[in-house]
Each structure stands twice: as structure tokens, then as C-alpha cells.
Symmetry: C2
């Protein structure tokens, strides 16, 4: 039998993985736990024009860039998306993702639901994972339990989460993050990524 | 937030899983190990007109049926496929799969590559997993090492395996079964099944 390179399955295509989900579902905790476990992914670091705080590390917490630099990134179409948050700009840079993928690494981005949909339009091959609670009631319970918001803020949060929950249809996978079962959730995210590496038709990202 | 049944993710759709791959890749061993691990699947038992041997159990090794019964199953279109093997008929019955799926169980069928393609035509929602060696050379090495065949038989086996290897494109996933890494292979098959249960658009089988 000849060694046909088409049938050598040793080199999986690196993936662009978007972890998203409604507010209160725990997507931040999931990504945090993925980092703690030392999973071999490149976690995208957001660029921001906000000044660095004393306890923050450039390139780890954020990439701290000047307003001029950020404007250049916008002009050169080098951001997946960006937002103005309390007077400062933030957004995930494409170059970082491009480099990590080129080196063969899977890339993980944590985004809100709207951001995930934006990335999907730009990069249809991206792998979109929706982290959620068992149902809407449980999601609402978690938001209420935070107790860090005024009733008006909470009502806004709940209304947003309700809308976000309905966007699940745009995603590839949905993982239930049950209360206190964060490791089970991360196991499932890991299983999805492992499985995607076995796809006969891989999601080859071009950026 | 109302409890919208559309957004209750608790009840994954049961899957029809086809484990296949070229001769020599180890698909039989993979399914055997899945059974040994007690994974909660229904493993399809093939119907056959062959007489039961002393050490065999009806309904476990095979369903032993009369030629009349088998003819009726063919006429009623109640077999996924069937073949005449050394004068005896064998084929996997649909009713068994239908019942297991209805009870919420995932169903596992082990089939050769041609059988897998037949099932895919009948049931496009089936999940097709291709078990293979790292490449064609390794597959050939394994077939040679069996040493149970005449050189002519071996040449036939190798030619068939070479053809089968090229059918991978028809499958959903490909899993490399490295020599002596059977548990790793089963872990990967399990990850694929777990991931498929998280798909936003499930593979809902109708039979």
C-alpha cells in the first residue's frame, strides 16, 4: 500500500474555538478553569486602550495599547470586533489568532453572544460553543443570587440573558454548566474539541 | 424568565452510531472494548440463518432465525442490509434499533465500510465513525502480521483495505487506532458521542 499523504491522519487542523453563552451561565469560569488545567490552547488576550492597573500584566490580562495603535488596528481591519466600554476601547486582535493557528495551536476566545455571532460571520469555520444553565429559570436564579446589582440593573441583565438564550440556534454545540459542576463542563468542552479534531472535514480557518 | 421547553437542554436525542473502517484497523476490538467497559449503549445483534453453536447465546452473539423468518424480514424491508456468507444469511434488523432509540438509548452498529455506506443512504442522520491505522503502510503491516491467510488471500485483503481506506470521505469522523492504544481509541469514540449529544442541531433518526 503506498503512503498516500491524503490518508495520513496525524496532523489535525487547529481550531478557532469561541466560548460564549448568556450572562450568568458561567462562561468566564469555564475559560478560567481551562487555563488552570493547563490545556494546550492559546487563549486570546484582548487589546485595550485602558491604562494598565498595578496588578495587571501586559500580554496576559490585556494587551495595553495606545489610542493611536487601536485606531490603526480598526483601520487595518485587524480586530474581530471592538467595543467602547466606560470610555475605553477593547477588542480581540486577529494577528494573535492567525499566529497561534499557524503554529498549530487551537485558539480559545471568550465572547458574549453578540461577539460570537460577529466572529461567526467573519469566520464561518469557527467552532461556537454555547455555555448555559439547564434552563431559563436556573439562569435567572443565578443572576438574582449575585446580589451585586440594583433591581433595575438586574431586570436589564435578566432581559438580556433571556434574549441571549434564544441565540443558541446560531451555535454548533451547547454545554450545560450545572451549578458546582464546572469540571464536568470543562470535560465536555474538551470532548467537543477532541471530537472536532477527528472530523473528516475539518474546520480550516482562514484569516 | 419563563420555562420555555425549547431551551431545556436536558434530554439529548439518542444516536445511531456506526463503527466501521478498513479490514485490519481494529473495529471489532474497539466495539468489544466498548462492551467490556459497560458503556450505556445498545449494541446491535445481527440476525442470522446460521445454526447456533454450542457456546453461543441467542440474542447475544446473534439472533438465530429460520430461513422463512429471514425471508420475511427481507420482504418487509426490516433489515438495514444483508449478505450471504458461506451459505448463511446475516443482517442487522431495524426493529431492534427502532426500539432501542425509542427507549432513549444510543445504538452502536459495527459494519464493514460498504455496510456503513448503505446505512448512511438509508439513515442520513446516522453518525459514522471510521476506525483506521495511522496510514496505509501500518494497515498493511497489521494485515501481514495476522499470518492466518495464504499469500493470495492476504493480497485480496490488502487490496480491499486499500479501497476501503479511500472511503473515509463518506464518514463523519476518523479515529486513529494506534497499535496497543485501544483504550485511547475508545476514549476518543466516547468523546465523539458525548460531543454529538451537545450538538445544537441533533441527528434525529427516523426509521
Amino acid at each position: 500500500m503506498t503512503s498516500d499523504p491524503d490518508f495520513d491522519f496525524h496532523h489535525p487542523t487547529p481550531l478557532l474555538i469561541v466560548i460564549s453563552g448568556p450572562s450568568g451561565a458561567g462562561k468566564d469560569t469555564v475559560v478560567q478553569r481551562m487555563k488552570e488545567r493547563g490545556l494546550p490552547f492559546h487563549f486570546v488576550v484582548t487589546a485595550t486602550t485602558r491604562p494598565k492597573r498595578a496588578n495587571e500584566v501586559n500580554g496576559k490580562d490585556y494587551f495595553f495599547v495606545s489610542k493611536e495603535k487601536f485606531a490603526r488596528m480598526i483601520n487595518e481591519n485587524e480586530l474581530f470586533e471592538y467595543a467602547l466600554v466606560y470610555g475605553d476601547y477593547k477588542g480581540p486582535p486577529k494577528a494573535q489568532v492567525r499566529e497561534a493557528l499557524a503554529s498549530g495551536q487551537d485558539v480559545v476566545m471568550r465572547l458574549d453572544v453578540q461577539g460570537a455571532e460577529t466572529v461567526q460571520k467573519l469566520v464561518p469555520e469557527a467552532l461556537l460553543i454555547f455555555i448555559t444553565a439547564e434552563n431559563g429559570q436556573e439562569l435567572e436564579r443565578r443572576l438574582r443570587e449575585r446580589k451585586t446589582e440594583t433591581p433595575a440593573e438586574l431586570a436589564l441583565r435578566i432581559a438580556t440573558a433571556r434574549k441571549e438564550l434564544k441565540r443558541v440556534e446560531a451555535f454548533d454545540y451547547v454545554v450545560i454548566n450545572s451549578d458546582d459542576q464546572i469540571d464536568q463542563t470543562v470535560d465536555m468542552v474538551k470532548a467537543i474539541i477532541d471530537a472536532e479534531h477527528c472530523r473528516v472535514k475539518p474546520r480550516k480557518v482562514t484569516l
